[in-house]
């Protein structure tokens, strides 16, 4: 059991020193007594070495991409090039203040301008905003744009958004947040949108349709043209959840095949690190008719250089972030795109697709696969056999994988596949690493038959054994009890 940082605290110990006071007016003479804190915050009193040892020890308890395969379906855990990190830490970037005169921000604005343009080209959209700071905030921005479009057109009767049952949970949550009623669309036997069902759902109330393409089963929604004509016929807009863009870059441009608005997950597709849950960046691209609704400011280029453009403020949805989005994340994506070039971008998608299909081919005789056709960059296997034959759940399989040095795939998602194991190897994995992951999965399939008890017990070799999630809810313990 490792201590918390608070337990290393020793009265009088220091982690840093600050310069001596050059101006030493008593605080009591500057700020009224009633506003001054009576009792100091009980932060730890520790040395720098205490801090380093503690957090390095904690770091050893994590799985991370450089340690081993991280095949979290739909989360896209690819390798993050180290060059990005040395470049973004330049003091010419990390010390910039958002309210500096624009003339002193030209380098950064040029980068943002070029990134906007590159993402517009990759997506086939007319214009891109870099302001949203996460995929879900991108969704929110995109759906607000849909709402603004309908408001401008007097489409007050449009109150519903249709979302497939295979969609990410953020999609329905986003629509509710914007104020839309969510209507769920069934998937058909091929794992695509059920067109007949779609037709029965679409009416005058339909404001839009939110689709992930390729979808969360790893399948390309090949009826997109028909879907677009159905939705557009009632003046609905089609939103593309861009979480899976890394399967189609350089092959398909969403803006050219019927989608009106989409978000990018720069932290997935464009190799910015996930940081244990963020920061991310979720730029949004739109077709021409939706450009007036984009958040302000955009970055534009004029006679005197680059500037923050508020020209369309009157029609804009407003702002979703205090300033201009996550510059440091956007910069990493910029470097990545510059290094890939057009061929490299396509090659990323090709290898993501090849790696996923290769892994699927290695596993298909050992795990049930509900949609066996060729997949895009990810596929959904499941533990239905194992559950039925041996009483082994997908959770058991996932935990056993941790023992073998791999992170588990996404489990129990998408919701429409029982005991789902959603696998996304990504393009940065080599054939050998896919082979060894397949060996581990096949080994587990064998263990289900030979030693099912072992799987119920797993994991055995991780820093802690199976964690009691139920207790974490029942006995809520959200903070360390500090001694006075």
């Amino acid at each position: 059991m490792s201590k918390t940082i608070f337990e290393y605290s020793v009265k009088g110990r220091r982690g840093v020193t600050l310069p001596a006071r050059e101006i030493d007016t008593p605080l009591e003479s500057l700020i009224p007594a009633e506003n001054l804190r009576q009792k100091k915050a009980r932060l730890p009193e520790v040395s720098e070495l205490d801090v380093m040892r503690h957090y390095i020890a904690l770091s050893h308890k994590n799985h991370f991409i450089e340690k081993g395969l991280y095949p979290l379906g739909s989360c896209t855990m690819k390798y993050n090039p180290k060059l990005h990190e040395s470049l973004i830490r330049h003091s010419g970037f990390n010390n910039l203040h958002p309210y500096q005169p624009e003339g002193t921000l030209q380098g950064s604005l040029e980068i943002l301008y070029e990134l906007q343009s590159a993402l517009a080209e990759i997506s086939g959209m007319s214009q891109v905003t870099l302001q949203p700071v996460a995929g879900a905030q991108g969704e929110f921005t995109g759906i607000k744009i849909v709402a603004a479009y309908h408001k401008a057109k007097g489409n007050q009767h449009k109150t519903r958004i249709i979302i497939p049952d295979s969609a990410h949970g953020t999609n329905p949550a986003t629509c509710s947040l914007v104020g839309y009623e969510v209507v769920e669309l069934k998937s058909d036997a091929r794992g695509r949108c059920d067109i007949q069902h779609l037709k029965s759902l679409v009416d005058d109330r339909t404001a839009g349709f939110m689709l992930t393409n390729p979808n969360t089963l790893g399948l390309f929604e090949d009826q997109i043209e028909e879907i677009a004509s159905i939705i557009h016929a009632v003046d609905g807009l089609i939103y593309m959840d861009g979480a899976n863009l890394n399967a189609i870059m350089g092959i398909v441009q969403p803006g050219k095949i019927g989608f009106d608005v989409m978000h990018f997950n720069l932290h997935k597709t464009f190799t910015t690190p996930h940081g244990g849950g963020g920061p991310g960046s979720g730029p949004v691209g739109v077709v021409e008719k939706l450009v007036p609704y984009l958040p302000v400011p955009l970055v534009a280029k004029g006679g005197d250089g680059y500037f923050l453009d508020y020209a369309h403020a009157a029609s804009s949805i407003g702002k979703v972030h205090s300033f201009y989005g996550n510059f440091a994340v956007n910069l990493r994506a910029y470097v990545y795109i510059k290094m890939l070039g057009p061929q490299g971008i396509r090659r990323v998608s090709e290898n993501a697709v090849i790696n996923a299909n290769y892994l699927k081919a290695l596993l298909k005789d050992y795990y049930h696969i509900q949609y066996p056709e060729h997949c895009m960059h990810e596929f959904v296997a499941d533990g239905q056999w194992q559950k039925k034959e041996f009483g082994i759940s997908t959770l058991d399989i996932a935990k056993r994988l941790l023992d073998k040095g791999f992170h588990a795939p996404t489990i129990y998602f998408p919701l429409i596949v029982p005991e789902a194991l959603m696998v996304e190897p990504t393009e940065t994995e080599s054939k050998e690493s896919l082979d060894s992951f397949a060996d581990a999965m096949i080994g587990i399939a064998r263990e289900c038959r030979e030693n099912p008890e072992l799987l119920h017990e797993a994991p055995l070799t991780t820093p802690v054994r199976r964690v009691d999630d139920v207790r974490a809810v029942k006995v809520l313990d959200p903070l360390f009890p500090l001694p006075d």
């Binding site: 600050l18 506003n35 947040l177 244990g276 996404t410 054939k431 964690v467």
Partner: protein, 448 residues
């Protein structure tokens, strides 16, 4: 450089194992006519050496706050960051990990979030904190939404002294569920308590206060509990500067139900305004209504202490359309920086940073007030590290003249509708010499 391991020969071998003869066969499900016929119109790829050169060229187009003598704040602050923060944050073990969905191999991330939650609760005096929001603005917006979920009252009062950019973000977030936003006017740079009292009734679901406020002034927070809770259902939301909490009264003490704020100043670089992170803390009885992720302590199957994401039933991946929020990614790495920062600064040094910031800001304010043509815009309001200077010359002119001397004298409040006013921030990083330089430049400019 596409960062791909597989060679062409390996690709062929893998395609063979899959049972296709070409990549095109693999993507047969994409209708031919939907496919791009030509390569993307992007620049040709650069090598590591070339992109490094390009980025250095771009950097030379910037002039950063480190080289300049900057007094810019207004939500993003240049506080001191100990070197060890970046050493920890850059560790791939933290940097390239994902959201801790598999707790057994994510104890490092889960435990630092638990420590972070504890520190935020300690600073604010609240009972539970989440693992972070996108920024201070979205944190306030989510707080208003949470209040509306709790008391079903769709009216929120925002102070006229709230950061104007936050107001824009809040309005876009709260519009969808029909929250009506009212503005409580300001008087002498702080919110008008009498006006707030007049606006309160049983239909008000939440009242927001930002302290120190956008103008740097400390709000009369002692009066708020009685006024806001005159409607017992109404929640008081305090948006606070976390550095200030080392020396200023914590929100729980003056009756806040939710404490939120911008956390960037805690160990995170400015990066032109992003990444930022929002902190969010409240009382235990609202735990199930909170947005975002929460880490809880628990046990593993051998009874050992362990950590896990908890109360996930509130979240979008389970409750979908009924979730408390759509937030999925948060700003975890920024909170790691904050956790390490707060550990290093500790009980005493955070107080020292806050104290020196206040002392230096007050020194600058009093020196500038002596310059002919200058005066404090709100001489009666107490402030922490930021204040508004009223000037005879247009702020725009002061900014452009001082640029030649590499001084960023503050934020021109013209963009927020205030003529001839500069919002000036000082942190502990400023030396007396640099402050005096600014005063001298101001004096010279006003003597012309």
């Amino acid at each position: 450089m596409p960062y791909i391991s597989n060679t062409d020969a390996e690709r062929r071998e893998m395609l063979g194992r899959i049972g296709v003869s070409s990549f095109e066969e693999l993507i047969a499900s994409i209708p031919e006519k939907l496919r791009l016929k030509q390569p993307l119109a992007l620049d040709e790829p650069l090598s590591e050496l070339e992109i490094t050169r390009l980025i250095n060229e771009r950097v030379s187009g910037n002039f950063c706050a480190q080289s300049a003598n900057s007094f810019l704040g207004a939500g993003v602050y240049d506080h001191f960051i100990p070197a060890a923060v970046d050493t920890i944050v850059s560790r791939p073990e933290f940097f390239t990990a994902y959201t801790p969905y598999q707790a057994e191999v994510s104890q490092g991330t889960l435990q630092f979030i638990y420590e972070y939650q504890t520190m935020i609760c300690e600073l604010t005096g609240m009972e539970i904190a989440n693992a972070s929001m996108y920024d201070g603005a979205s944190a306030i917006a989510e707080a208003i939404l949470m209040a509306a979920r709790k008391n079903k009252l769709l009216k929120a009062i925002l102070p006229a002294t709230l950061h104007p950019e936050y107001v824009k973000v809040i309005s876009i977030y709260t519009e969808g569920i029909g929250v009506e936003l009212l503005t409580c006017p300001a008087k002498d740079g702080v919110l008008d308590i009498a006006a707030l009292r007049g606006m309160m009734d049983e239909s008000v679901g939440s009242v927001v206060v930002q302290t120190p406020n956008f103008y740097g002034n400390i709000e009369p927070v002692q009066a708020l509990d009685g006024i806001v809770h005159s409607n017992p259902k109404c929640l008081l939301i305090a948006a606070v500067d976390p550095i200030s909490l080392a020396i200023l009264t914590p929100p729980a003490v003056y009756g806040a139900d939710i404490a939120v704020g911008e956390g960037q100043a805690l160990g995170n670089s400015m990066y032109m305004g992003g990444p930022l992170f929002g902190f969010f803390a409240t009382k235990l009885d609202m735990a199930r209504m909170m947005p975002g992720r929460i880490v809880g302590g628990t046990l593993d199957k051998e009874g050992k202490r362990a950590y896990a994401l908890t109360l996930q039933a509130r979240e979008q991946h389970i409750r979908r359309a009924k979730a408390t929020s759509n937030i999925c990614s948060n700003q975890s790495l920024c909170t790691l920086a904050a956790t390490v920062y707060l550990s290093l600064m500790g009980r005493e040094c955070l107080v020292e940073a806050a104290t020196q910031s206040a002392q230096k800001a007050h020194y600058l304010a009093s020196e500038l007030a002596k310059v002919p043509g200058c005066g404090l815009a709100y001489p009666s309001a107490p402030f922490f590290k930021e204040f508004v200077l009223k000037t005879k010359l247009p702020a725009e002119r002061i900014i452009s003249e001082m640029l030649d001397q590499s001084i960023y004298p503050g934020v021109d409040l013209q963009r927020f509708g205030h003529q001839n006013e500069l919002l000036i921030a000082v942190t502990e990083k400023k030396t007396k010499a640099r402050i005096d330089e600014f005063v001298a430049a101001m004096r010279e400019l006003n003597h012309e």
